[in-house]
């Protein structure tokens, strides 16, 4: 007898209460965007969005014992851009566009936290709920790192200052059972989105005003089965490989040190620079 997973009886309880994207300046060098339920000033790693899921499982005890239940998460990189301006128009401007080739070639990425085994978002811990149900929990705190200043290559390497940035990603969080054969059984999923967007104003050479226009949105409530989106299917069929965090760090470096179309240094400031962005 094979294992039976009652996917239609799966229960996913999402806790997004108080979840909000916040911004923080670090060492006057980086702008950090992070999802939080109450930022303490130093903790960038605590979970903000959480989910507890259970599903009835039955079958031979030996096989059920070997069944792993946890979460797989796939991230879709939508957009990530940052814009810099000199103190005056003649000191130029810089645009960064991270989520395009050659810096980023694939927009669907397998997500993970703390170097998990494939395909897990985090390595599942064996747990049994009541009435033959198996349980798993999930938590995430997606972040963003943007440099506050860059040197303009076509304007004598003079420093340009961040005045606007945004990063948007969608996440497909999938309650999953991994059968002893290694085949993932996608039980249920939900979809959410984080858009970080900040405008920065500088006073006396310091980023003193941070205008936060970010948002967190639960796009799809828990739904049985795997996500149907066409661009996700290849990843869901073979959920393995380098994780989004590692790719993201490489994308950041490739964009900042790269050239067009990821990075463009301009002799003039962008017309979108507010009059009072640098005083």
């Amino acid at each position: 007898m094979a294992i039976s997973i009652a996917s239609n009886q799966a229960v996913l309880t999402i806790d997004s209460s108080g979840v909000t994207p916040a911004g923080q300046v670090l060492n006057e060098t980086f702008l950090l965007g992070h999802l939080t339920t109450g930022f303490s000033g130093s903790d960038f790693t605590g979970d903000a969005l959480t989910c507890l899921a259970t599903v009835p499982v039955s079958g031979p005890a030996a096989e059920v014992d070997r069944l792993e239940v946890g979460f797989v998460q796939v991230a879709r990189a939508v957009s990530f851009q940052a814009f810099y301006g000199g103190r005056m128009p003649s000191e130029g401007g810089i645009a960064l566009d991270y989520f395009i080739p050659p810096a980023l070639n694939a927009k669907v990425l397998l997500d993970g936290s703390n170097s998990p085994r494939d395909p897990w978002y985090r390595n599942p811990t064996f747990s049994t709920a009541r009435a033959g149900r198996r349980a798993a929990d999930f938590g995430d705190h997606p972040g963003m790192v943007v440099r506050l200043g860059l040197q303009n290559r076509v304007r004598s390497n003079v420093r340009n200052f961040l005045f606007h940035c945004f990063m948007e990603r969608e996440f497909f969080t999938i309650f999953t059972a991994l059968e002893p054969s290694g085949r993932p059984n996608y039980i249920a999923h939900f979809q959410w989105k984080v858009r970080y967007e900040f405008r920065v104003k500088w006073r006396s050479n310091r980023p003193t005003m941070l205008i936060n226009q970010s948002s967190f949105t639960l796009l799809k409530k828990p739904t049985t089965g795997r996500p149907p989106e066409a661009d996700l299917q290849a990843m869901l069929n073979a959920p393995a490989g380098e994780r989004a965090n590692a790719i993201g760090k490489r994308v950041e470096a490739a964009t900042v040190t790269g050239n067009r179309p990821n990075r463009s240094d301009n002799e003039s400031r962008f017309i979108t620079v507010p009059e009072d962005f640098w005083l």
Partner: protein, 121 residues
């Protein structure tokens, strides 16, 4: 020898400043060439001038103060007629700024590493 930095080279007013006492930059002067001096002071020493001077391309009081700070740091004086630094951009000052800007232009950009404990994607 003409000015060699990308920032200054070819600017008639600054090229004149390099060779002609009458073309020295003094408080009250205004123009594109003053903006270039603002950029140079910021680039080599991080010296800021106030927003009014920046916006109006003016060699105003904050520009004069920044020039004086730059010259004091390097002890730029003409011993034939002065003992202490002044707040004017003359031949020696424009040459010094040009040299330092050229070195900056040739140098590598500074890219600090982002924090490692932060999720990025």
């Amino acid at each position: 020898m003409p000015l060699r930095s990308r920032l200054f080279a070819g600017d008639r007013r600054l090229e004149a400043c390099l060779v002609d006492d009458k073309a020295h930059l003094t408080p009250g002067t205004r123009g594109d060439f003053v903006s270039k001096v603002h950029t140079a002071l910021f680039l080599v020493d991080g010296l800021n001038v106030d927003a009014t001077d920046l916006r109006t391309q003016l060699y105003g009081p904050s520009t004069a103060a920044a020039v004086l700070a730059y010259k004091r740091k390097r002890h730029i004086v003409n011993p034939t007629y002065q003992r202490t630094e002044d707040d004017i951009v003359g031949k020696m000052t424009v040459a010094s700024l040009d040299n330092e800007v050229a070195l900056r232009e040739a140098g590598p950009a500074d890219f600090p590493l982002p924090p490692q404990n932060k999720s990025f994607v």
